[in-house]
């Protein structure tokens, strides 16, 4: 039984059961070394219901959303969408924002473009 699968399917719009384990996603991923569960493993873990482990993994914040895996997935499983869905499912729970507005000013560097701040709010908060 996988209590999360319906929710992840609904939010992501993709179905991890279509994965044929070819590994192209992990082979393409620039964030591979920054994740404890690499993209192909991530898909497999969603499929087998290990979503809570994924919610606690740093990989949901180190995925760059560069869409290399989305582009190259031959089965339209699109791992970046699953990663986003797991991240959203976690962040949408109360108290789970990853970054608060007051966390931003200390991180600002002189040339930091506004889009980085806007992007962070979309990635790290409800």
């Amino acid at each position: 039984m996988n209590p999360w699968l319906d929710e992840i399917n609904r939010i992501s719009g993709v179905n991890p059961r279509k994965c044929m384990k070819c590994g192209k996603c992990s082979g393409s991923c620039p964030a591979y070394d920054e994740m404890e569960y690499h993209p192909h493993q991530f898909v497999s873990m969603v499929e087998s219901g290990r979503v809570e482990e994924l919610m606690q993994s740093k990989g949901i914040y180190t995925c760059l959303s560069c869409f290399a895996c989305v582009e190259r997935c031959p089965r339209q499983v699109e791992p970046a969408r699953l990663i986003e869905a797991v991240r959203a499912t976690f962040l949408r729970q109360q108290h789970n924002d990853r970054m608060r507005p007051e966390d931003v000013p200390p991180r600002l560097e002189e040339d930091l473009p506004q889009q980085a701040i806007t992007a962070a709010f979309r990635k790290y908060r409800k």
Binding site: S12, S65, A68, E78, V104, R107, D111, Q114, Q115, Y124
Partner: protein, 263 residues
């Protein structure tokens, strides 16, 4: 030709150079970028979650405003382009999203993704034409070895972006050649600079960008051109690297003989 123009948050602030040279070059090439009278930040990141509506609204508002003016919607920033183009696709292809957006906005005229969204590079390629640009060059960038840096957001996912071949793009190289410079091909031209993680995990973004720069340098590039202020930030944070990074509009304006413009 007149286009609706969506500058986005960063082109009014940290990314002013991308904007000002782009506007000046447009004028010189005979097309006009008419800034939308009221635009809202696109949000910088496309909401991949299919149940998010609020984060799509600013894009839809811009798309509808351009439609009402009877104009194509042009962006210069890769991120704005990425977000607006994909949201436009949602309005065309995803009945659930389109229906819920319409329910919220209650538009007088329904919107179903009919606005053409074009990146400035596409305007150069498809509307102006590289032959025309070549003929307009007054100060060719002769001998300069330039690597095109596409990054991720211009090209992928290609089914939605429909801009160029996602694995072997050519639009920026063709522009470089039209300006009289020599395009340099390198493996990481469509790899990510580190993107938004710069704020939370600066070292990680730094490593990503360094790989891109080293790869370009090893292939012989002296300069990289980008269309994205976040790529610009991440790449230029790598200090003392021999590869220079410029906005493509700056080199375009330079080659067109434009000396100075006010921001």
């Amino acid at each position: 030709m007149k286009y609706s123009y969506f500058p986005g948050c960063t082109l009014k602030t940290r990314g002013k150079d991308l904007d000002k040279w782009g506007r000046a070059a447009a004028q010189k090439l005979g097309f006009e970028l008419e800034e939308l009278p009221e635009w809202q930040c696109c949000g910088a990141v496309y909401p991949q979650a299919t149940d998010e509506i609020a984060t799509r609204l600013s894009s839809v508002r811009a798309l509808m405003a351009a439609r009402d003016l009877g104009q194509d919607l042009v962006t210069l920033c890769s991120a704005c382009h990425h977000v607006i183009r994909r949201v436009n696709g949602d309005m065309r292809r995803n009945a659930d999203i389109a229906g819920r957006v319409a329910n919220y906005l209650q538009p007088e005229v329904p919107y179903a993704g009919e606005t053409r969204v074009a990146h400035y590079l596409e305007v150069l390629r498809d509307d102006v034409g590289f032959e025309t640009i070549k003929a307009s060059v007054e100060a060719p960038l002769k001998g300069l070895k330039i690597g095109a840096y596409y990054g991720c957001m211009l090209l992928r996912p290609s089914m939605e972006m429909e801009m160029d071949d996602p694995e072997n793009p050519s639009v920026m190289e063709d522009l470089i050649a039209a300006l009289g410079a020599q395009p340099v091909y390198y493996a990481m031209r469509n790899e990510c600079c580190g993107g938004y993680v710069a704020l939370e995990n600066a070292d990680y973004a730094y490593r990503q960008s360094q790989k891109v720069l080293d790869n370009a340098w090893n292939a012989g590039a002296e300069v990289l051109i980008t269309a994205c202020p976040l790529c610009m930030y991440n790449l230029t944070r790598v200090k003392d690297h021999p590869v220079q990074v410029k906005y493509f509009t700056e080199l375009l304006a330079q080659a067109l003989g434009i000396q100075e413009v006010s921001a």
